[in-house]
Subunit: 253 residues, 4 copies
């Protein structure tokens, strides 16, 4: 999307035959400023990636494979964007250790590449201190096992922390006569409501209210391809950010 | 709003100095097809209404006063639109008795003159049989004492009845891991969520879902003047509906 | 979904290898009260459908094939639900002619099987007479060629007709200083706004306003599978409606 | 709302009998950490404000009166929060000149004290670079003379600048067949739609879209009292910000 780049960055994809890997290959292929030079999966030799001249690697593999892949990338001076899960504090420390010896190399590890969801949370945390009231309504398909969603719970905690920081007390609520559950779940003092209905995918609304006005931040996700713009953003940015970057947040400043 | 009427209907207002009565006077005054000919309140003589030639009377008085007012109207052949509360089955039967002797006279008694709310409930009841899932989210100012609102509870019951009638079972819901309250209140099997926030007035959303699509019916009420279009509708219709009509629903067919 | 049916209705699908036909096969297969007994496509013999004992046929074929299919159905006493396009008044008359000789057979032909969209239009037409103002905002993916959408245009015309019928004049609008296009397209006096954005699928909102309140009817369609509940509804209903039924509206009364 | 302040700040209101001034008096009066010590209007002597020991003055007067008021405040070492309109670059320079001689005094001048609207614009400007598509839908009462609103136009310009800055080209749009106006007004390349309906107050929605997801920021303003939280925020902050601060933005960092 940006037009500053003169020549296309050369990208390799690890886990290329997986569900997410295939989407990444398509997305890189469609981006004018990126070139897909290697698509490898389990059993393929990583040297193919080096021979193809990849400058950045995207890894959507498995917790078992990802550490070996990452060490290889750092050793070969290839930047890495990682969506694979399972990163403990210990694993992150290990990656930092490798990077210490290769100051020019960048690694971005993110549990969630959805730009919209990350911005929603950032904006919610920023708005929190200015509004007396706030509630969250998340809406998902009825096959979901947890209520509220992890994103809603995380958003509520960010908001609660920002309110505490600003010295805000509890939101006003005169409810005296409640049918159990009507006022939602209490997550650190923030009310969260979980709607489940056939036809829905993944949606969340954060409603802030103060005297005479409300501000609503809403995110609608329709498809796993919604992670691709975040992956591409990281691919474009990773070379300018040596060392380890955890979370897409850090790239959205 | 309609332009069929040749001459303006002559309207009297009882309870004209009350909060609602004053709004009715203003609304009648602003309507091109209606003429405010009498505005009386406690202590005033009802004969002033007859002398002014009122064809329709609007009553926003008190449960103590309304029955005497209504009998007077029926006896004098004046149609009546009543927003006063406190009508029991016994009172309604009494009014029907008076009307039996005056076949040309119409009386409309309604607990809620909000056209938008009434249509929302009608549409929700009608849509209910066609959707696998349905949930209600109502949003109000934080001074409200009950959760969910009476309108939300009533809507849920109408929907539950329509679903039962169509042979629909419970909406699908795989939730296994719930923070208490997240999934809302259970009103006859319909989940209802109550949001409270400063800045809000009175809002309700009914969300229907089926494979690949959702249908949402939303009502936003900002002000008590929102009852006026319903009152004026009843004033215009009451002359064409001899006998007793209970509820605005019956006028919205 | 309904549980009245004792034995599953036997269904055949014509055009079973097409995009929509495949979805219909899956949907029939998943419905407890329906049984998929025949799935045929171009080149297959229709007699297989008869031999399989199909009571209802669903036709998503082509304008070239559909008339022969329909005549065959009527002759064999098999009810038909048709989503194939290209039905002119002349074609409908022809179908009515065939049905005249077979009084027990039902045929449902519908250009749009989306229950949500059809209900949105019905509700909009019904609400129109009670609100001073109404505008439509439709939102679609940016590959769409026409603006506004056919559904939005059709909805606007239904609303305009209902307003005219009720004697309503133009909605109030004091705009004196407009950047060209800001107030949308004028469709029979109803303002329609078309939003285009990546990520959107197909959405429409009809906003009604009167003093102090608004009523909004919103439809969100995420997927072509959103037509399936409408197709199944027609499959279940067609046997109770002998003769020709045009449009899903007629089944949603 | 914050509880850090030990003693209530002493506040004087200029223009106290005006529409906004009266609201400010009420709002200051209701705030636990603020004390209303003087409420003056045209014809009253400003010295009453000094004698009452006001630390902060709020000025909602007229362009004719405001410069004299401000000079008086700066000379007397009283901080000022100003909502009065008519500030040209020349006037701002004059105020800066006065303040140069009184380094401890703060003045906040803002054309719009709506926190929600200001945050909506900030968030929109920040999100702009990450989304391929963006459109604005603003909704107002039908007595409004301009379309789109000033806020919508300003938001569109902020977004357009952020997109240009990020090297984004035009949003994708395949429209070939448009009823005039359907695609809205073009404000620096951003499409803006203006809805007008009875019952609405002042609302705006900014919709961002990228592959598979959308992010929506919505502001609803119901009442002129919606400016009060912004005024109070400025009253609380002005003492910590010596010199001239223009716009509420600067206080919302």
């Amino acid at each position: 999307m940006t037009e500053q780049q003169k020549t296309a960055a050369r990208v390799g994809v690890l886990g290329a035959r997986g569900r997410m890997g295939m989407e990444v290959c398509k997305a890189v292929d469609s981006a004018a400023d990126l070139e897909l030079v290697a698509a490898v999966d389990q059993g393929d030799d990583l040297d193919a990636v080096a021979q193809a001249g990849a400058e950045v690697v995207v890894d959507f593999t498995t917790p078992d494979a990802v550490m070996d892949n990452l060490r290889w990338c750092v050793e070969h001076g290839v930047h890495a964007v990682v969506g694979t899960t399972g990163f403990t504090g210990q694993r992150l420390a290990e990656v930092r250790g490798w990077l210490a010896g290769r100051p020019g190399v960048g690694v971005v590890i993110a549990p969630n590449f959805g730009i919209g969801a990350v911005l929603m949370m950032q904006f919610a945390a920023r708005a929190a201190r200015y509004f007396e009231s706030v509630e969250i309504v998340e809406q998902h398909h009825p096959r979901k096992l947890d209520a509220p969603s992890g994103t809603a719970t995380h958003t509520a905690r960010l908001i609660a922390a920002a309110r505490a920081d600003a010295g805000l007390g509890p939101a006003p609520d005169a409810t005296r006569d409640e049918v159990a559950g009507a006022r939602g779940a209490d997550i650190d003092g923030v009310r969260v409501h979980a709607v489940r209905a056939t036809g829905l995918v993944a949606h969340q609304e954060v409603l802030f209210g103060t005297t005479g006005e409300t501000l609503t931040i809403r995110h609608d996700s329709y498809d796993r391809v919604s992670f691709m713009p975040g992956v591409l953003l990281a691919v474009r940015e990773v070379g300018r950010r040596p060392g380890l970057t955890v979370g897409l947040d850090a790239l959205l400043d």
